[in-house]
């Protein structure tokens, strides 16, 4: 059974938001009580709240910081407590990046211990500080400490955006597998750009989450 709260955390730019969006949309197909919570109070551009209307149109419940504008105040809305405290609801949390971004999660830690949660470390081994197992281990430690929560799994997200190929996924996933072994954490799933899913096929033993990009640069819109 899925745990009531599924958190996506990880270093800056590891793909937490895209993963959380795609995961929440997929989950919501089976369970309409799913709510996606934007708990990222450190990212300034290309963040969940820019696409929340689009997600609502798809029928997803979304909670974002109340100040919808483009300001960089670390403020969260009390609605988040409502969502996390609910008895029946299922919640997907998009946490801020790295240790500073994870700090806002700390206030919920004792509550989450009670209701149960899954926390996934999203790893892209093509990002500067997580190209090695040691780097991934360091990120895991720092974010867990800062959020006062424990990771339950890794999410493997090896990609170079438009330049992702099977080889890129292969090489990157290998590093995440090695980190999974070292950390004693399973890989919950592997993210694969939607248009590459067919090509990837049955190549890996882990489940696959097809990723559709939502956060686009202005010239891609």
């Amino acid at each position: 059974m899925e745990r009531p709260v599924v958190i996506f955390a990880g270093p800056f730019g590891s793909g937490k938001t895209e993963t959380a969006i795609n995961y929440a949309l997929q989950w919501a197909e089976e369970d309409q009580s799913v709510t996606l919570v934007d708990l990222d109070v450190v990212t300034t551009y290309l963040r969940l709240r820019e696409v929340e209307e689009r997600l609502r149109e798809k029928g997803l419940k979304v909670i974002t910081p109340s100040e919808a504008g483009n300001i960089d105040l670390p403020a969260i809305t009390p609605q988040i407590w409502g969502a996390l405290g609910g008895q029946d609801g299922r919640v997907v949390v998009d946490m801020g990046g790295s240790a500073p971004g994870a700090r806002s999660m700390g206030q919920f830690s004792s509550h989450l211990e009670k209701v149960g949660y899954a926390m996934n470390l999203v790893v892209n081994p093509y990002r500067p500080f997580t190209t090695t197992v040691e780097g991934i281990e360091k990120a895991e430690r720092e974010i867990a400490d800062s959020s006062r929560l424990q990771f339950t799994a890794l999410v493997s997200n090896p990609h170079l955006m438009g330049e992702t190929t099977l080889e890129v996924i292969d090489e990157g996933h290998l590093i995440v597998q090695e980190a999974s072994h070292q950390l004693g954490l399973p890989i919950a799933f592997l993210c694969v750009r939607a248009d590459l899913v067919e090509e990837v096929g049955e190549r890996y033993s882990v489940p696959i989450l097809p990723l559709n990009r939502y956060l686009l640069a202005p010239w891609e819109r």
Binding site: F12, N70, M161
Partner: protein, 355 residues
């Protein structure tokens, strides 16, 4: 792994490190803070100097000091912080010591907002601080280009003993792209007999920007102007896209240049003969080449994330010989390619009507 996925701010920081930046001084400001954060981690790892100053004023003066000592030195900031640095930049230029300054621009004027903007074009290309001077201004449109231009900025600063800057808007700082970083090798720097390295066994060096009395300050100014002429003669850079047979040419740089490239492609697909001229050096501005390009086209469309600042240089380059249209957005608003395409269609439609 050859390629790595980086954020613009990180890419500029890592490029500076690869270029042999020995000292970084800065003060956090959105949307460039990741640059400072990245430096705080990597510079310390490498045993180089990282210092978060108490303000942009002290940061730029620390840069001045390190530059006088002959260090490869850099600071980075965003618009309001760049304004604060103007006095120091003027001093550095007058003292003829090399330094690199990164400006990841945000919406202004005033405290403005944290969204992308190109509102500092005048300030960056026309001097910015007091006195007769210009700084070198390089405008990346992709993250790979941001890396290459950051490395170039250090070399140009050394070559001309002046300040080289990167003019990046917040979007360039914040987007992520796969990039390739050059291998680390010791930077090739010119001799620095002027540097303040301790005068033991040699004549003492004096670096100053104060020239009281007599014609000395005029001499310094004449030399600075000579340097600027050399820069104008040697360092003009630009990119051209689909100019072949183009009748409407968009002139844009940075994020606007990137959007314009998408737009030109879409216009061509719809049969509109559009092209793109993208200045890479905003100072020295590619006046001559743009004038040449304008001779064979019917319209120019200047597109900027401001009220029309580069527009003045485009008019100067072409002496207004052809219709120059302008499309700009201010206050951190970034238009979609569709909005810019609509501008091109507006220019093209009377012609299409005749056909």
């Amino acid at each position: 792994m050859a390629k790595i996925l980086m954020k613009g701010n990180e890419a500029i920081a890592e490029a500076a490190i690869r270029a042999g930046c020995e000292a970084y001084f800065g003060y956090p400001i959105t949307p460039q803070t990741e640059l400072l954060e990245y430096m705080s981690r990597r510079m310390v790892e490498l045993g180089r100097v990282f210092l978060q100053a108490e303000s942009e004023l002290s940061a730029i003066n620390m840069v001045y000091g390190a530059a006088c000592a002959g260090a490869r030195v850099m600071t980075s900031t965003s618009s309001p912080g760049f304004s604060l640095m103007q006095e120091g930049i003027s001093y550095i230029v007058c003292s003829e010591v090399p330094a690199v300054v990164i400006n990841v621009m945000r919406g202004g004027p005033g405290l403005g907002n944290i969204q992308p903007s190109q509102g500092d074009y005048f300030q960056m290309t026309k001097g910015g601080g007091h006195g007769d001077y210009n700084v070198i201004v390089l405008a990346p449109a992709t993250l790979q280009e941001a890396i290459d231009l950051t490395i170039l900025a250090f070399d140009l600063a050394d070559k001309y003993r002046s300040v080289a800057t990167i003019i990046a808007d917040g979007m360039i700082g914040q987007i992520m792209e796969p990039v390739e970083l050059p291998e680390i090798e010791p930077p090739k720097r010119p001799e620095q007999p002027w540097a303040l390295t301790g005068a033991k066994g040699r004549e003492k060096n004096i670096i100053t920007s104060l020239y009281l009395g007599g014609p000395n300050l005029e001499k310094v100014n004449l030399r600075l102007q000579e340097t600027l002429e050399e820069i104008k003669a040697n360092e003009v850079r630009y990119a051209e896209y689909m100019l072949e047979g183009a009748e409407i040419v968009v002139v844009a740089y940075g994020t606007a240049g990137r959007i314009a490239q998408t737009v030109v492609q879409e216009a061509r697909e719809e049969g509109i003969p559009a092209g793109l001229f993208r200045p890479i050096t905003m100072f020295p501005f590619p006046y001559d080449r743009l004038d040449e390009v304008a001779k064979s086209v019917e319209h120019l469309l200047v597109f900027e994330l401001n009220a029309g600042q580069m527009l003045e240089d485009v008019r100067l380059a072409t002496r207004d010989r052809l219709p120059i249209h302008f499309y700009g957005k201010m206050g951190g608003v970034v238009p979609s390619p569709a909005e810019v395409l609509a501008q091109i269609k507006k220019i093209a439609s009377p012609q299409q009507g005749e056909r």
